[in-house]
Point group: D2
Chain length 111, copies 4
């Protein structure tokens, strides 16, 4: 993760793209990439998707979308000085309290 | 990252939530979380956002949204057997070729 | 529709909100509202949604989200001097050519 | 509007696409289309967008995205038996009470 953050920083610096990466514009891009991921599942039933996932091209296209989301996440986290792993672990701890297993086991979680 | 993936897996297992985490439904949740992040910037100009970022509550709320996106990203990546760091590094390599610095320096990147 | 456009214009004028309604910021709000609509279907299977739709509160909450999307659509269309009905009819005509019934009958449409 | 709803219904019937148009799947498509609209404004400053809007192709591409959102809105509204104009007027009335002009004049509205 540290290595990825470093390489992203270098990539951005080499292109002088920091000036475009306001938190708002990166958040807009994250939304757009999340929608591009969603497009791969549009109109498809879970069983159609499972079948498609056997296809290498389909899997790779999805892997690419996940990568795009990850890259923008690294960019905005770096900008806001957030440690993504730490933030995720903290949130998981909060969720652990909000959704006790005995109460939520097998029940769809809200939100 | 390996530790985070592990803890997310454990969290999901303890609640038996794997059954809800179809790729499509997690992608839907990613889109919703991306929009929640965007809400913090809605109607705001870059300079208003910079000013707000001095406020601890505002920063923490945003950190929480980034964590939510990260958690869903880990969930879907695990489901699809994708290594997020590796996928992001591969994509960065592709982008390096698509956007040569000499050509894109200081010019807004497309997409 | 003409009446709705008129009332939206009056509502915006009375609050002097035109200054906030740049096309980009209204598009951001449209994305956020679309995600809020999606939230009502998050983690739910089609059959659960059908059952929930019998509930008046659930239906009304969804009706409200559709109204929000419609209102932002009217705001951005007015700003860009687009006639929504005419634009939709034109697009429908294009789709009629792109997706001939004999070829697409009962087959999920792309995009 | 009544005419548009009618033609959309006919278009869908001719292709037997009603089976795909569950509320959840249409909401997913609305989110995707909202993101496609947003793409036209991605990384761009308000002044760049104003300049681009003088270009006919750019305007038409945006008009097309608004049309797509409108068409899906008509499809989901019809499915849920919601009158879009009426719903929007009702919501506007609610917003009139929530945001009194004397209090919100010239101040960015929340949400």
């Amino acid at each position: 993760m540290a290595d990825l953050t470093c390489r992203v920083a270098q990539f951005v610096d080499e292109r002088d793209w920091d000036q475009f990466h306001t938190p708002k514009d990166v958040a807009v891009s994250l939304s757009i990439e999340a929608a591009e991921l969603l497009e791969h599942f549009q109109w498809r039933r879970p069983e159609d998707i499972e079948a498609l996932l056997a296809d290498g091209d389909y899997r790779n296209a999805i892997r690419d979308e996940l990568a795009d989301i990850m890259l923008y996440l690294v960019i905005i986290a770096r900008r806001l000085d957030v440690d993504l792993i730490e933030a995720a672990l903290d949130k998981l701890e909060k969720n652990r309290d909000r959704f006790p297993p005995e109460q939520y086991r097998g029940r769809a979680h809200p939100g």
